[in-house]
Symmetry: C2
Subunit: 406 residues, 2 copies
C-alpha cells in the first residue's frame, strides 16, 4: 500500500463534469489499495473572478483581505470534490489549509510554508478516507489566513508529501508532462521522461510554466519523488528525481519575455554592494548578473523595474545609467552543461549555424543562457530545438510514446 | 461611544455597487465615534449557486462538505466589504466565524451557537478597527466548519451583540422594519416602531420573514436591544424590546401557507403521548395542536409531512385518520390578546363583520390564530388589516413617516 499525494490544477476541475472525471481517477487509484491525499486548486477562473470583484470595490485591496477572499476558491473545489467522490461510493473528507496545519510566515499573498502538521490527515487516512486538501493556502503564525502565490497549490502538494513521507507526489496537469520546449512554439517537441530537480528549477526559473521553482526546491530539499502527468488521461509523463544522467543532455530549451537589461557605470563598490543587498532582500528575480570594477549589468523581470528604479533614485550620484532595454532571455537547460561537455559544444555550434549572436551569454552548471531582442525569442527557441534535439537523436533522451500535442 | 453590531443581508450586498453603499453607511456610523462590528451574509444568490454546484456533482451531498462549501459565500462578502471600507479611508478587518470563536454544536447545516469567544474582535476594536464578521457560520466543538441554517446571519449578529454586551444590534434589511402585515398583501400596511420579543417570535413563527424565531429567542434570552432598519436608507424602522405596551395592541397580522391539518381518532393515550414526543424531538414545527380523550388535531408545515407519515405508519392499529388537508394559518399578534382585552374583542367582531368562519381558532398570550382554506389566506389578511388597523386608529401605534412601499 503506497501513500500518494496527488494534485489537480484549476483547469482540471474547471466545471462539474471535470470535477467528476477527477473524482473517478481518484477513486480508481484508491481502489488499487493506495492511500490518497489530494490537493486541489480553485475551479478554472474562480480566482480571476474574485480578483476582479476585489478591484471593483477597492483600488488597492489590503493583502490580508485579499487572502481572506482568494482562499475561498479552493474551499469550493475541495467540498465539491469530496461530494463527487462520496457519490461514487468512496469516503472522502475535505480540509482547509488551516485545518491540516499548513503553517506559513506572515507574508500575505506570497506566504512561505514553515511547517506542516498534518495530524488530521493521518487520522483520516487511518480511517480509510480519501483526504482532500485545499491548495494554495495556509494559516500564519499570527493565525491569519494566508495564500502562497500563483502556483502555490503545487507547493502545498509537495510540502504535504514531504511531511507525510509519501511514496510519491503526482502533479496532474492539463499537459502530459515536462516538455523540452513549449509545445506552442515547437509542436513536435519531446517529453522528458526523467528530469533532475536542478534542471527543473532552472527551467522554471526561465518561465517554464509547468512548475514553480519554489515547489521544486521544496521537493529537492525533502527528497520528494515528484511525477508530472495528465489529469485527462491519468498517465504520468515525467518523473523528477535527483538521479544524475550518465552524460550531459539537454532537457529544456526555454525562454522568457518582458525582461529588463540594465548596465550601470560605477566604480563605487559600496554602492554596488548595497544594490546587491537590495536585490537579494527585495525578492527581485535577477536572471543574469555581472559585476565588474567599473560596471554592473543585470537582467530581471520587468515587473520589478519600479522597485529597482526607486532604489537607484536614492543614490543618483553613485552611478551613471549606460544602457536600459527590454529583452528576452533564452536558456538551454541540462545537467553538466559545462564547457567540457559535448552538449555545451553542440549549443555553441548551433548558435554559429543559426547565426544567432548572443549577448551576455553565461554558462553555469545547469544552463547556458543569453539575452536577445524580445522579438526574436520564440523563433530562436524553435530553431534551436530543431538544431539541437532533432539532429542529435543519440544524445537526447529516449523518445516516448506520448502524443505531445493533444 | 456606543458599541453597535450591524448586520447586512445578502440582498444588501448583492453586487459591488451595493457593497460600496453599505461600506459608506458603516463608515458614516464609525465616524460618529461608535465602535462597529458588522456581520454580513453571502452576496445575493451566491449560496443558491453553490447549492446548485453541489447538486451537479452529488445526488446527496454529505452535510459536512455542504458546510465547507456554503461557508465560503460569507467569506467573499467580508473580504470585499473590508476592502471597500479601506478604500474609504477607515481601517477594517474581516474574520471568519471560526476566527472569532463562534463555537457551535456538531449539527451540520443547522448548527446552534453554544458560545461566542470574540477575543480577536475586542482586540481589533481596541485598535480602532471596524470589525467585519462572516455570518451564518461557526466552528464546532469537533473543530469542523458548521453553518447555522437559513437566517443564521441574524443569529450570528445577535449572539455577537450578546457576547460583546453591545449597546444595540441593528439588523439592516431590504425592508424598512417590521410591518403589521406583509406590504405585498397590504400595500398601505403600517410599520411597528416598537415590538416586544414575544410578539416578534410569534410573528416569525407564523412566517414573517423579517427575522427567524431562533434569532429573536437569543435576543430575548440575553436581553439584546435589536433594531430593524433599511440598508438602503440607513434608517431604523423598528426596535424590538422587552417593554410591554400599556394596553393590548395589534402588532402583526400574518399568515403562512403550505400547512397540513391532521385529525386522528384515537383513545390510546400512550400512542398519542409517543406522537407528542416524536413531534418534540423531531424538530417538527407544530403550529396548532389540540389533544382530546378521543382525538388529536395538529397543524404543521408541509415539509414535515413525510417524517410525520413515517412515524404514523409504524403504529397503524393505534389510530384512524379522520381528516387530512392542506390549509393556511392566520395569526393576529399582539401582547395581552386574552379574552378580556379590547383587541381580542375587536378581532372577534372583525371575524363576524367579514363573515370569516375560522376553524381550530386558538387564543394564547400573544396570538389569536386559526386555520382556513389556503386559497383564502391572502385576501383574509388584507381584509383583516383594513378592518382592524385602519378603522381603529386610536388603538394602533403612532403612524410613522416611512413610506412603507419602496
Amino acid at each position: 500500500m503506497a501513500l500518494i499525494v496527488q494534485k489537480y490544477g484549476g483547469s482540471s476541475v474547471k466545471d462539474p463534469e471535470s470535477l467528476k472525471r477527477v473524482a473517478r481517477r481518484i477513486v480508481e487509484e484508491h481502489r488499487r489499495g493506495n492511500q490518497l491525499v489530494v490537493v486541489v486548486s480553485a475551479m478554472g477562473e474562480t480566482t480571476d473572478h474574485l480578483v476582479e470583484l476585489a478591484h471593483q470595490v477597492s483600488s488597492r485591496p489590503p493583502e490580508r483581505e485579499m487572502d481572506m477572499l482568494l482562499s475561498v476558491g479552493e474551499r469550493i473545489s475541495i467540498a465539491l470534490l469530496a461530494m463527487a467522490i462520496h457519490e461514487l461510493g468512496d469516503e472522502a473528507i475535505s480540509f482547509t489549509g488551516s485545518q491540516v496545519g499548513i503553517i506559513t510566515d506572515n507574508h500575505h499573498t506570497e506566504a512561505r510554508i514553515l511547517e506542516v502538521k498534518g495530524l488530521r490527515i493521518r487520522e483520516a487516512l487511518n480511517n480509510g478516507k480519501i483526504v482532500i486538501v485545499a491548495g494554495f493556502q495556509g494559516v500564519s503564525i499570527n493565525k491569519e489566513i494566508t495564500t502562497l502565490g500563483r502556483g502555490g497549490s503545487d507547493t502545498t502538494a509537495i510540502a504535504l508529501a514531504a511531511a507525510l513521507q509519501a511514496d510519491r507526489c503526482e502533479i496532474m496537469k492539463d499537459v502530459d508532462g515536462v516538455f523540452v520546449s513549449e509545445p506552442r512554439l515547437v509542436p513536435d517537441t519531446r517529453l522528458n521522461h526523467e528530469i533532475t530537480y536542478d534542471e527543473m528549477i532552472e527551467m522554471a526559473n526561465l518561465g517554464a510554466g509547468v512548475l514553480k521553482p519554489e515547489s521544486v526546491e521544496t521537493a529537492r530539499r525533502y527528497n520528494v519523488k515528484v511525477a508530472v502527468g495528465s489529469s485527462f488521461t491519468g498517465e504520468i509523463g515525467t518523473i523528477i528525481t535527483d538521479k544524475k544522467h550518465d552524460s550531459a543532455a539537454i532537457s529544456g530549451i526555454v525562454g522568457q519575455k518582458d525582461m529588463i537589461y540594465l548596465k550601470l557605470h560605477s566604480t563605487d563598490f559600496s554602492f554596488k554592494n548595497k544594490l546587491n543587498q537590495f536585490l537579494a532582500s527585495g525578492k527581485i528575480k535577477v536572471q543574469s548578473y555581472i559585476m565588474q570594477p567599473n560596471s554592473l549589468e543585470l537582467v530581471f523581470q520587468e515587473r520589478h523595474w519600479k522597485a529597482v528604479k526607486n532604489f537607484l533614485d536614492q543614490s543618483p550620484s553613485n552611478f551613471t545609467l549606460e544602457e536600459e532595454k527590454k529583452v528576452g532571455i533564452i536558456g538551454i537547460i541540462g545537467t553538466g552543461l559545462n564547457f567540457n561537455s559535448r552538449a555545451a559544444f553542440q549549443v555553441f555550434r548551433a548558435l554559429e549555424n543559426l547565426h544567432i549572436t548572443p549577448e551576455m551569454l553565461q554558462v553555469s552548471e545547469f544552463r547556458i543562457s543569453w539575452i536577445l531582442p524580445e522579438g526574436h525569442l520564440e523563433e530562436s527557441i524553435s530553431r534551436l530545438h530543431h538544431e539541437l534535439i532533432r539532429t542529435q537523436p543519440t544524445d537526447a533522451r529516449k523518445v516516448n510514446n506520448f502524443n505531445p500535442i493533444k
